[in-house]
């Protein structure tokens, strides 16, 4: 028996040619974590797939991208057109198809979907009682059927599924890899974009707690503060986030260089650290206290 296909033998197709009408600007170019969304999605997929194909609208402007580029023949015909032109351009028999507005792609789930294709023509997740055709795997063998659909004006991909060997991936199976189904989260409006950004920040930040002692506690009437910081944050970031949250500390305990003379910091009850360059880790308990233990 042939071994299951892997992304290394497959193509990834990314559809960017949608209208983005509700978003009001091209979704592919939305900034996400400091870069256009399409760049981010491509980079993730290129790590595992043999090739990537971006399918754009006929006259759509795109930055130069390290990928094959295909174009819809007619603009804004919907996903079936995109899937069709992507599959047509791909050189591999198996293609994972996604839209470009999915910032939370889960590579493990994608590899799992690709591996399920062996005796099937389509592998499509079924999440919250809906097929997810733009996070699915297709064989190029379905190209003739898609062409027929386009000609008939059947613009919804799910019409395909009854006609071919389709493996529907149930919710429980997805949950094992992507418990919250974030793979299927896409963004159609500015509000959804904002929410996705927040979610991303939350999932990619570390959380530390700061316990205040002595004068710091008296000044702020606060004993415990929780701070969310970027991965790789240092004490300098802890101090500045703390001063922002508790302004009474600014100038008294914390200044622009870190802790003011007379104060020190202990991490997890173990190490005394004053250097603002010291890295902190998620879950760290940081104590701000007097540098003088005499009494």
């Amino acid at each position: 028996m042939e071994s299951n296909p892997t992304p290394a033998d497959a193509s990834a197709v990314v559809l960017v040619g949608g209208k983005s009408s509700r978003m009001g600007r091209p979704k592919a170019l939305l900034p996400f974590d400091g870069e256009p969304l399409i760049v981010r999605v491509l980079r993730a997929l290129k790590k595992m797939f043999a090739e990537t194909v971006v399918v754009a609208a006929p006259d759509q402007d795109l930055p130069i991208l390290p990928t094959m580029l295909a174009r819809d023949e007619v603009a804004y015909q919907g996903p079936v057109s995109g899937i069709y032109h992507g599959l047509k351009a791909a050189t591999k028999d198996v293609c994972f198809v996604t839209s470009c507005d999915a910032p939370f792609l889960n590579l493990q789930l994608i590899a799992h979907l690709v591996a399920q294709i062996s005796d099937h023509d389509v592998v499509v997740p079924y999440w919250q009682e809906r097929f997810q055709p733009l996070h699915a795997v297709y064989r190029t063998s379905v190209l003739p059927l898609l062409k027929d659909q386009l000609e008939r004006g059947e613009l919804r991909p799910i019409f395909l599924y009854d006609k071919v060997r389709t493996r529907k991936i149930p919710q429980e199976e997805i949950r094992r890899i992507d418990p919250e189904g974030l793979s299927f989260l896409n963004m159609n409006s500015p509000a959804e974009y904002e929410a996705a950004l927040q979610l991303w920040n939350k999932r990619n930040s570390i959380s530390v707690s700061v316990e205040l002692f002595g004068v710091a506690r008296l000044l702020t009437k606060t004993q415990l503060v929780s701070l969310d910081l970027a991965q790789g944050a240092t004490l300098a970031e802890v101090f500045s986030a703390l001063a922002e949250k508790l302004p009474a500390l600014a100038g008294r305990v914390i200044n622009s260089e870190g802790l003011i003379n007379g104060y020190t910091c202990n991490i997890n009850g173990l190490n005394f650290v004053r250097s603002p360059n010291a890295k902190v880790s998620s879950g760290d308990k940081i104590f701000i206290l007097s540098a003088d233990a005499g009494g």
């Binding site: 002595g214 008296l218 007379g262 020190t264 007097s290 540098a291 003088d292 005499g294």
Partner: protein, 611 residues
């Protein structure tokens, strides 16, 4: 002579005779004042093997060159004698107006020997010495004694240091107290009691002359400014009670007689909570800009001083969590003139004895962890040497010897002095500092905990660096204690020895250098050790209580951490090496010579100036 008078007053209470003697400049330059001068005089004035309670044991009050100069935090004096608690040197400090007055009577030291026939007090007005009856002051608290004497002498300028009931009954950890402050550790109050001396009242108008008044004024301004900077925030804004919450969180708060190093539900006892709920007012010593003292409202509405050591010893160490109860227990210690650390340490020992069935009388008195009533009853019993109080008045070491069995295992002392509030197992440099200190378990004659709290070392483990860290810390403390400068100013110097030598030079007119001052610190510390060796110190005296070496910490961030006898032994060896002592901790002659100890008149009698 600037900064000093070059003389001492020796008062023999048996004969009532007063003699002024010369202190040679060479001795002052070598030992400075305070603890240093006091130690050198103790070596000379105490006969080898003297009984601390005997007539011959000198009770020495030593002033210092910086006292009276107006420099912040320098209104301090030292009391030095042979300790009835340890049998070694007792060197205690106290401060404020009595310290200034001691300087104003025109001597660098006051030595008291002998014993008055009845309870007396001494009034020294410049060169006039008067011995007066104190029969009416028997049993009075130090504060009451002070105000009664000031009233009867009808002089607002008179300052008084006194003992309470505990000093009169020779409780071995009785204090000498002035203005609510105490020369607290080592039982100096009992030595005073043994001389039938209830109080010393001083009034003088001798000026402190300095060599470079303008220079001193300038330095005074700089130090004042630094003393008001963020470096002293803790002391100025909250006082030392700030330690409790931090120590609890760091697993260094001795609890229930060192069975644990964290205290559950300590919240109400933290400095933060006390400040919020019980604060009454701030107070400071004379000539101090830091003003670290905090007075809190006790249950009866009265104001009570509280600092970390008292709070720890009468609180977590005894399992007491109610701040009202701790304040009340502290009131009682002040009332009777008791060292609150040794009181708490001895009571915690007795509580554990009761718990383990060794001391039924302790249980009967209500001495149980967490129960304030037993603490109140026991403090009074100790001061009056009543019932089990007579045993507890001897301190934990002697009491444990008396009770026998395993009770020595949980007697938490070094050389007989009960441990302060720093858990040695989670502060390993401090563990060494406590083990080797000539005074016994003391956090003031060595600030070795600073290395542990600074990140300079791993506080949970040991290594051979600790010896030199402890030695340096002791030398530093000896220098501060002899100039005298309060330790709460210590972080305000950028190059301590250099800057302090400059101050000393401007006061005395000497050309003192930083290196010479550093050497003086080492010499002073060595002189204390030398006294102990003469009084029978043995290598096994530099050691820690068995509990600390036999049990790991059960709670907190230090859970599972212990201290093995081998680790302690190795640290002690590293300390002896750093000091240039032999493997057994004795001081080689060559080392004494290097420090000029034989040459600096420690063994030479001071010449009589006038009688």
């Amino acid at each position: 002579m600037y900064g000093f008078y070059g003389r001492l007053l020796h008062l023999d209470l048996t004969t009532g005779e007063s003699v002024w003697r010369e202190i040679e400049e060479v001795r002052l330059r070598a030992f400075l004042g305070g603890i240093g001068l006091g130690s050198s005089l103790l070596y000379e004035y105490a006969a080898t093997g003297v009984d601390p309670f005997s007539l011959a044991n000198p009770l020495i009050f030593a002033s210092a060159p910086l006292v009276g100069t107006g420099l912040t935090t320098t209104a301090k004096y030292a009391v030095v004698t042979k300790s009835p608690l340890t049998g070694f040197i007792a060197d205690s400090l106290s401060s404020s107006y009595f310290a200034l007055e001691l300087k104003r009577i025109g001597v660098d030291a006051l030595i008291i020997t002998g014993r008055a026939a009845t309870m007396t007090y001494v009034f020294i007005n410049n060169h006039h010495v008067e011995i007066r009856s104190a029969d009416h002051l028997r049993g009075k608290s130090p504060l009451d004694t002070e105000s009664m004497i000031r009233a009867e002498l009808q002089s607002p300028s008179v300052r008084v240091a006194a003992i309470g009931k505990a000093g009169e009954t020779l409780v071995r950890f009785a204090t000498i107290s002035n203005e609510g402050r105490h020369a607290g550790r080592g039982g100096v109050g009992a030595v005073m009691g043994a001389k039938n001396l209830k109080a010393i009242a001083l009034s003088g108008n001798c000026p402190t002359e300095v060599a470079d008044a303008n220079g001193i004024e300038k330095i005074a301004g700089v130090l004042r400014e630094r003393s008001l900077s963020s470096l002293t925030d803790k002391y100025r804004e909250m006082g030392t009670v700030a330690n409790l919450a931090v120590f609890n969180r760091l697993g260094t708060l001795p609890t229930r007689n060192f069975q644990q190093s964290t205290f559950d539900n300590a919240e109400a006892l933290t400095g933060e909570s006390l400040t919020e709920n019980n604060f009454s007012r701030k107070h400071g010593c004379a000539a101090c800009t830091i003003r670290c003292e905090r007075l809190f409202k006790a249950l009866d509405g009265a104001e009570q001083r509280m600092e970390y050591e008292t709070l720890f010893a009468l609180g977590p160490l005894c399992g007491i969590r109610d701040p009202g109860a701790v304040l009340q227990a502290a009131q009682l210690c002040d009332l009777y003139g008791l060292d609150s650390i040794s009181t708490g340490g001895t009571l915690a020992w007795a509580m554990e004895c009761g718990e383990k069935g060794f001391l039924p009388e302790a249980q009967k008195l209500g001495l149980r962890f967490g129960e304030p009533e037993g603490v109140f009853a026991a403090i009074a019993a100790i001061a009056e040497r009543r019932g089990i109080g007579a045993l507890l008045a001897e301190g934990s070491r002697r009491a444990a010897v008396e009770v026998g069995g395993d009770s020595m295992y949980w007697a938490m002392h070094v050389k007989g002095l009960e441990l302060p509030g720093y858990e040695p197992r989670s502060l390993k440099t401090m563990a060494l500092g406590l083990a080797v200190s000539p005074r016994g378990a003391c956090h003031n004659r060595s600030g070795a905990y600073e290395a542990d709290f600074s990140g300079e070392v791993d506080r949970f483990s040991t290594d051979s660096k600790r010896g030199s860290l402890v030695a340096e810390s002791e030398n530093f403390a000896a220098t501060l204690d002899s100039l005298i400068v309060c330790k709460f100013l210590r972080k305000c110097f950028s190059d301590f020895y250099q800057e302090a030598a400059e101050v000393l030079s401007k006061v005395t007119g000497w050309d003192y250098t930083g290196a010479e001052l550093k050497r003086a610190g080492e010499r002073i510390h060595t002189a204390k050790k030398l006294f102990n060796v003469r009084e029978g110190w043995q290598p096994e005296d530099d050691w820690l209580p068995q509990r600390l070496l036999g049990e790991t910490l059960p709670t907190g961030v230090g859970a599972g951490v212990g201290l093995s006898p081998d680790e302690l032994r190795q640290m002690i060896q590293s300390y002896y090496r750093a000091r240039g002592w032999d493997d057994h901790g004795y001081i080689p002659e060559s080392r004494l010579a290097e420090l000029n100890l034989p040459q600096v008149a420690m063994h030479r009698k001071c010449a009589v100036i006038r009688q």
